[in-house]
């Protein structure tokens, strides 16, 4: 029960940081979800940039956890003051309450489905995927020894050279640090806490993408519910990370594939369709945030971005070519 309070504290603090930071970017009634997504990418980017410095300076696990916790709490406070002075905080929450009042049945059903799936996976099921050992053992080692990397994760044999992937993507170590600060086993934080955060974020991101293509709320929600069902049916991991979402939501690669991809898609659409250059900043934040979770993010996200740019370049060229043909 005591662990549950700590877990709740972890989840609530992170959500607060995201919402408060998001409220600083609030720009209108129809932009609530967008503000939250902006807040999400900015918060994770800040966590990434600070944690990379701390990890590469070989700080202790407790120091890393305490520093990151302070940074997140500091961001909540700073965002609170900034948004309050700008009066965007009041407007943001007023818009949120208004939106909740206007919620339709299908939206409530989609939300309930996502929350039910999250709760079910948080408390009742786990996956038996062997690669989990690597990350979990590193986290448990860091948590118990208060050293960021001291032993081979598979055997426990002493090792002093931290893998470069871990130095570049310190997600596992940051969670171990926070676990140390909260004095809760990192396995609980990963297998329950991260599930509670990742799954709603993923569906929020895909909902945002769907909202760029269709104005109809019913269509978006139906798409979301069907996506949830498919992710539930695909319970196998190989080849496709989408399939692993409901089984290993805490794994870095899964987070990059399921949350990084739709966010890049979403912000790129904003840049090209709405001609809003400021979204380049959030694209950059998404790439940085993806790298926090998995080192593949640093390669894949720019590649995805390039392919989306190529798509727009191609469609623009075809448009011009067609116009020329008509003339």
């Amino acid at each position: 029960m005591y662990n549950l309070y700590k877990l709740l504290l972890f989840i609530v603090c992170f959500c607060m940081a995201v919402i408060m930071t998001g409220s600083c970017f609030y720009a209108g009634k129809r932009e609530i979800l967008l503000s939250v997504l902006k807040g999400l990418t900015v918060v994770i980017s800040v966590i990434y940039l600070t944690s990379v410095i701390l990890v590469n300076r070989n700080m202790s696990t407790a120091f890393l956890g305490a520093a990151e916790s302070m940074i997140v709490l500091g961001m909540v406070l700073a965002a609170l003051i900034y948004a309050y002075r700008k009066k965007s905080l009041q407007a943001f929450f007023r818009a949120c309450f208004q939106r909740i009042k206007e919620t339709r049945v299908i939206e409530a059903a989609a939300l309930a489905a996502v929350l039910l799936a999250t709760g079910y996976l948080m408390f009742f099921y786990h996956q038996g995927y062997y690669q989990d050992t690597y990350a979990m053992s590193i986290a448990a080692d860091a948590y118990q020894s208060n050293q960021l990397y001291a032993a081979n994760p598979y055997t426990g044999a002493p090792e002093d050279t931290m893998p470069w992937k871990l130095r570049l993507s310190p997600y596992i170590l940051v969670i171990a640090g926070i676990a140390r600060v909260l004095s809760i086993h990192p396995l609980i934080l990963f297998h329950i806490g991260m599930v509670a955060l990742v799954i709603p974020c993923v569906y929020l991101a895909w909902y945002a993408v769907a909202s760029e293509f269709t104005e109809d709320v019913k269509e978006r929600c139906l798409f979301l519910i069907i996506l949830l069902i498919f992710n539930g049916i695909f319970v196998d991991y190989d080849l496709n990370a989408n399939k692993g979402l409901l089984l290993a939501a805490w794994q870095g690669k899964i987070i990059v594939a399921n949350a990084g991809l739709p966010l890049i898609l979403f912000f790129t659409i904003r840049v090209y369709e709405k001609k809003e250059a400021k979204y380049w900043f959030y694209i950059l934040c998404t790439i940085v945030a993806s790298t926090f979770f998995s080192v593949t993010g640093i390669v894949l996200c720019p590649l995805l971005l390039m392919s989306l740019m190529a798509y727009y370049g191609l469609s623009c060229w075809m448009h011009k070519w067609k116009r020329k043909q008509k003339e």
């Binding site: 662990n3 408390f123 009742f124 099921y125 786990h126 996956q127 038996g128 062997y130 989990d132 050992t133 053992s137 448990a140 080692d141 948590y143 118990q144 020894s145 032993a151 081979n152 994760p153 598979y154 055997t155 426990g156 044999a157 086993h185 396995l187 609980i188 297998h191 329950i192 993408v209 293509f213 269709t214 269509e219 139906l222 798409f223 069907i226 996506l227 498919f230 049916i233 695909f234 319970v235 196998d236 080849l239 496709n240 990370a241 989408n242 399939k243 979402l245 089984l247 990059v256 594939a257 991809l261 593949t296 894949l300 590649l303 995805l304 390039m306 392919s307 989306l308 190529a310 469609s315």
Partner: protein, 259 residues
């Protein structure tokens, strides 16, 4: 170029690639469909197709990865293909275009049949504890940690090695996942033999395991209950310190450790 084609073919054909091919067919369907939802999603589908072309099947990228000795990592990017999203977009469009219960049932039935795999669901296991690891691993780790011997050097069957260190990192193992990681890489042959005796051999050579473990300062051996007859490990100076439903935990006697 040949490499990447062969590699892609291998990945797609051998690794349950039917999902990928079904996704390709559905992409084409969305592209050509006259449904309102599909037409709206055309743009997203075009983007995903472009991503597939430029990122997932790119010979230049594969060559770079191969030169960096990361060809295996290249295979991993196939995980990024948003197959479930393509499936969902297609099915949503179909359901919105043909609004009848029969369509819904037919589509759901077809899709379920198309994606169902005999292994589906096997990896989804009911959680036995808050840590979400195998309860027997937790019990065994607790037995070892409560024991008064100082060194927690343990030899366990493969299936336990997956969870035991995640739960209790103070426990050190002779070999990790699939025997790929070994505590003493310099004694590879002997460790391979122990791995064989512990995991593969139905009638293991208890004497070899017992003596080797003692000789190289490992202290605990966890055996499956049906592999070791009662009193057999005791012959090689071990004591039983605890057991679970399927495993028995042995430890080298105190006198032998000089504690």
């Amino acid at each position: 170029m040949n490499n990447v084609l062969w590699n892609t073919w291998n990945i797609l054909m051998l690794n349950r690639s039917r999902y990928f091919f079904i996704a390709l067919i559905l992409l084409m369907y969305i592209w050509l469909s006259a449904g309102r939802f599909h037409q709206k999603m055309n743009k997203a589908v075009g983007m995903i197709a472009m991503m597939m072309l430029l990122v997932f099947c790119n010979p230049i990228l594969y060559d770079i990865a191969e030169k960096l000795d990361e060809a295996y990592e290249y295979n991993r990017i196939f995980w990024m293909i948003p197959i479930t999203v393509i499936f969902s977009a297609a099915v949503t469009g179909i359901l919105l275009q043909y609004k009848s219960l029969l369509t819904g049932i037919l589509v759901a039935g077809y899709v379920f049949f198309a994606v169902w795999h005999p292994d589906s669901g096997l990896r989804m296991i009911r959680a036995e504890n808050a840590y979400k690891v195998n309860q027997e691993s937790v019990t065994i780790a607790d037995i070892i940690m409560e024991d008064d011997r100082k060194e927690k050097l343990v030899v366990v069957p493969e299936e336990l090695s997956l969870d035991i260190r995640s739960y209790e990192p103070a426990v050190r193992l002779l070999c990790g996942t699939r025997n790929a990681y070994q505590y003493y890489p310099e004694y590879k042959e002997d460790i391979d033999r122990i791995y064989y005796e512990m995991n593969i051999n139905d009638k293991p050579d208890i004497k070899f395991v017992g003596e080797w473990v003692r000789m190289y300062d490992f202290v605990y051996v966890v055996w499956e209950k049906d592999k070791v007859a009662s009193g057999e490990m005791e012959k090689y100076l071990y004591d039983i310190i605890g057991d679970t439903d399927h495993y028995v935990v042995y430890a080298v006697r105190h006198e032998e450790l000089g504690e």
